[in-house]
């Protein structure tokens, strides 16, 4: 798979920010939250499938909405996207893993299993953020 062809996607989907892409809140590299960094990793994808997998759900949704618009008219994808937005807002507190049940049901992914359910399942994560800090960050108080 040609990674050079995917570089054009970099502008649209992967935000290439300034000099320090791994910057946390203080402009310094945030190894704790974002992992180790290297200039090469930030500019080019480290695996030929990185970009295609990062955007997979997005692209699937776009394709489905387009087909739906062509078949049923503009109202169908608009209504669905409104419902998606509403369902996406149903979340638990920031430090707890959310089930996203409503969103999954809408998407139809509640009756299918993929790698994201087996590997790196957030429910089985061994780490948890500090509850106070995370809620403060979410509310913008921090």
């Amino acid at each position: 798979m040609n990674t050079r062809g995917l570089r054009s996607q970099l502008k649209d989907s992967v935000p290439v920010t300034g000099l320090c892409p791994q910057a946390g809140s203080y402009g310094v590299q945030d190894s704790l939250r974002r992992g180790f960094s290297s200039v090469k990793n930030e500019l080019l994808p480290s695996h030929p499938l990185e970009l295609s997998e990062k955007n997979f759900q997005l692209n699937q949704d776009k394709m489905n909405f387009n087909t739906l618009r062509n078949i049923q008219g503009l109202h169908a994808p608009l209504k669905l996207q409104m419902e998606y937005r509403a369902a996406r807002q149903i979340q638990r507190l920031p430090f707890l893993p959310s089930s996203n049940l409503a969103l999954d049901t809408l998407r139809g992914s509640d009756d299918s299993i993929g790698f994201e359910d087996i590997l790196n399942d957030p429910v089985q994560s061994e780490l948890m953020g500090d509850p106070h800090i995370m809620t403060e960050y979410k509310l913008g108080v921090l």
Partner: protein, 276 residues
């Protein structure tokens, strides 16, 4: 190597594992080590459609480079009660892929309320393998019987599929295909079909280094599955004919001196384990 970590790309979490592996791979040769080889199933798998259903066959050797890793591994995987799948290529890939598709097919069949169709399994597999552009090294022979009769598909790692009356995959596929091309007829009887598949796998076992050990067969008909493991032990390990152990009394005893050690118990203490 084929060490790949399928982190959750879709949720924008970097998979640190993959970067570490890539870094190690680059530096490890400088240190004089070689990264471990993925365990592959250099294999012979095949399938044939006969009068009442489908016969799937596979050998049972798993290799890790030039060494046999498993002398009796099972390459015919369960997908659903009426569908089975043989897998060649990277052992982990075939195992996990067939398990994921089996789970998805079970959920799908619960949702529709019907027995799953072979073509559904085929479509799920090919869409997943195409999504990963051949990085999942799984070459599969999918066979089963559903409401529309017996079906047999071969699925390649990049996601292309073929629907045929007889298929072979794996490193021994050419040897097996030679047997099929010679003796296949449409609408065979069950015994003839089993013999044909057994001979095709045997051709792969004896003519390909990547295949070996026993022959497993799976006969799928409407409402019944015969999982014959092993159907034929073509390579039984030999039995030693002679014994090199020395008989008692071979070495003569010249002198014998016995010294008893008189020990007495001084103190006895019991410490209980915390088994709560």
């Amino acid at each position: 190597t084929e060490e790949q970590c399928w982190g959750t790309w879709g949720k924008n979490i970097k998979c640190v594992c993959f970067y570490r592996n890539a870094l190690l791979e680059a530096d490890i040769n400088k240190l004089g080590f070689s990264s471990p080889a993925a365990r592959k199933t250099g294999t012979t798998i095949c399938g044939v459609v006969y009068k009442d259903g489908v016969v799937l066959g596979a050998d049972t050797r798993a290799t890790e480079g030039m060494v046999v890793a498993d002398k009796n591994c099972s390459k015919i995987h369960y997908i659903s009660p009426n569908i089975y799948c043989c897998g060649a290529g990277t052992a982990a890939d075939t195992e996990m892929t067939t398990q994921i598709i089996s789970s998805n097919l079970e959920l799908h069949s619960l949702s529709t309320g019907r027995l799953p169709r072979v073509t559904t399994a085929n479509r799920m597999l090919k869409q997943m393998l195409f999504r990963y552009q051949g990085y999942i090294g799984a070459a599969l022979v999918l066979g089963g019987v559903d409401c529309n009769g017996p079906h047999l598909y071969s699925i390649y790692p990049h996601g292309s599929t073929d629907k045929l009356p007889y298929v072979t995959m794996g490193s021994g596929s050419l040897a097996a295909m030679a047997v099929f091309e010679d003796r296949y007829r449409p609408n065979m009887e069950e015994e003839e079909a089993k013999r044909l598949v057994r001979d095709a796998i045997a051709a792969g076992i004896f003519n390909d280094l990547g295949s070996g050990s026993n022959i497993d067969l799976c006969v799928i008909t409407k409402g019944k599955v015969d999982y014959l493991r092993p159907h034929d032990m073509a390579n039984k390990k030999g039995v030693r004919t002679g014994s090199y152990r020395y008989k008692h009394g071979t070495t003569g005893v010249l002198t014998k001196a016995v010294t008893p050690l008189n020990l007495e118990v001084v103190e006895e203490s019991v410490q209980t384990m915390d088994t709560s």
